[in-house]
Symmetry: C2
Subunit: 295 residues, 2 copies
């Protein structure tokens, strides 16, 4: 299996569907432009690819999981737009391009984020109507995603992160809490929702949940390492911000060497979690790819 071409395939299906969906909306044109600007800014499409790969691996129909994949990608994008705002991380650069508020202004960027989050919900419900009301697994997937993105998941992690810039609680517990919510919850929701949309058996859903847990950790640690060691030009975003702003990260708490070790452990655990599922090469290769990533 060629991981990159598989991701490209998934990414292109997802991106086309999102673009078609947003372009088909009758609404304010600047708002739509602002939403599309960020949603097509060349993300890795990691989350949507994981939804589709999990669904396909477990015998589900890709077209049924697609609205969930699109939703997770637009949710991820909305969170980045709001994260980058001056009141939050105040980042001028995202994926090598000026961030949303630098192009469209703060007001429109806030609304673009709100619009994308609403669109995610809309796409999920429309997808449910399309795949046939009564598809239990799909409902469970929507529920899992809903719980992952809000005040007990991603937004909560973001709030802890913001608060901790003032409180400066530098413990492993706080670090894990922030990351498992801010990044981990959405990654976990991606693999789990793909499995649920495929009506997978409980043990497979649990295996993917464990994979999501460990892979989310791996992803975050490598993200922290890249902020410390990465190349701004390759990454397409500012680096060195964490240490400058005295942010709690795996590198600022444990140092780079230990962070690399922890990434290795998480990678092993992630691979182990899916090892007994047939056809899980996509996920095993994704782990290898992530531990070696430079962006």
């Amino acid at each position: 299996m060629n991981l990159n071409s598989k991701i490209k395939e998934y990414a292109s299906v997802t991106e086309d569907a999102i673009k078609r969906y947003i372009n088909g909306m009758e609404g304010n044109e600047t708002l739509k432009k602002a939403m599309l600007y960020s949603v097509t800014a060349g993300g890795k499409r990691l989350r949507s690819s994981m939804v589709l790969a999990a669904c396909e691996m477990l015998g589900g129909k890709i077209e049924e999981a697609l609205p969930l994949a699109c939703a997770l990608e637009t949710i991820h994008t909305y969170s980045l737009i709001h994260d980058d705002l001056p009141a939050l991380d105040n980042d001028d650069l995202r994926r090598g391009k000026p961030s949303n508020h630098k192009v469209f202004g703060e007001a429109m960027a806030i609304l673009a984020g709100d619009g994308l989050l609403s669109t995610a919900f809309e796409m999920m419900v429309e997808g449910y109507v399309k795949c046939g009301i009564g598809h239990d697994g799909y409902v469970k997937a929507m529920r899992y995603i809903a719980r992952a993105i809000g005040a007990r998941g991603m937004v909560s992690g973001q709030a802890c992160d913001i608060e901790n810039e003032t409180n400066q609680v530098f413990t492993e517990e706080m670090l894990k809490h922030i990351h498992s919510n801010k990044t981990g919850a959405l990654i976990k929701a991606s693999v789990v929702s793909g499995a649920l949309a495929a009506n997978a058996k409980d043990s497979d859903v649990a295996a993917l949940e464990e994979f999501g847990e460990q892979y989310g950790l791996l992803f975050q640690i490598t993200d922290d390492i890249l902020d410390f060691e990465g190349d701004e030009a390759v990454l397409g975003k500012s680096t060195g911000k964490d240490s400058k702003s005295n942010k709690l990260t795996y590198v600022t708490l444990f140092g780079a060497a230990r962070a690399h070790e922890l990434a290795g452990i998480a990678a092993e655990n992630a691979k182990k979690a899916v090892s007994r599922i047939d056809g899980s090469e996509f996920f095993a290769e994704l782990v290898d790819h992530t531990i070696g990533r430079n962006r």
Copy 2:
């Protein structure tokens, strides 16, 4: 029927359910506090009352419509929090209290809005699981709400409003477009989703949709009038802002006298829309109450 006591009854059921829901979430405490601050700031609970009244009038179960009512109220609240932000309307006062960002700071206010919108989605999906997967009308209601709140509805109207502060297009068409999306869409979604949750027949849903259209118009015109003529102390928010910021409203476009006339016409049309539905006194009285409102 005593309209005020009926609204109080609906409002108390909704508010209790929202508070219980948010308090039951494991997540960042400041975030939850910020969400609850605005959601319990003494709103009129108009939207949730209309959901429950429509459902009850058409023979549905109130407890099945309750998650939709809660969702519409939290969506309304999130939109107010984001509206009040410095980058948007920059309002320091809301319902007689300092607005969310004045108390919790801009970053937390943005996140509180995001958290409330996510919570709305979560409550709706949880409610669907609870009322029994396969409840067609409930799914239609979720779909209607999803389409009303985002980039083809409320957020689009908000974007047009923001844009028009610069573009200054002062036409009736633009005014109608902004209002029908910014305020109208959510009001319409309230009555329609209540009817759908009751599995009402198509002609009743259509009647309530027409009511929502006309009542939304009435509500907006009286809102514009209150900004011009209202008492800041009674309203609990700043007045005279529309003319100062040269905003397109029914008063700035048509003058106060014509605005009062147009409100009267919308009120008549709204009443007519529901007149042939048995037990529609709640809605008829709501119209009378709204045309005479001072806050």
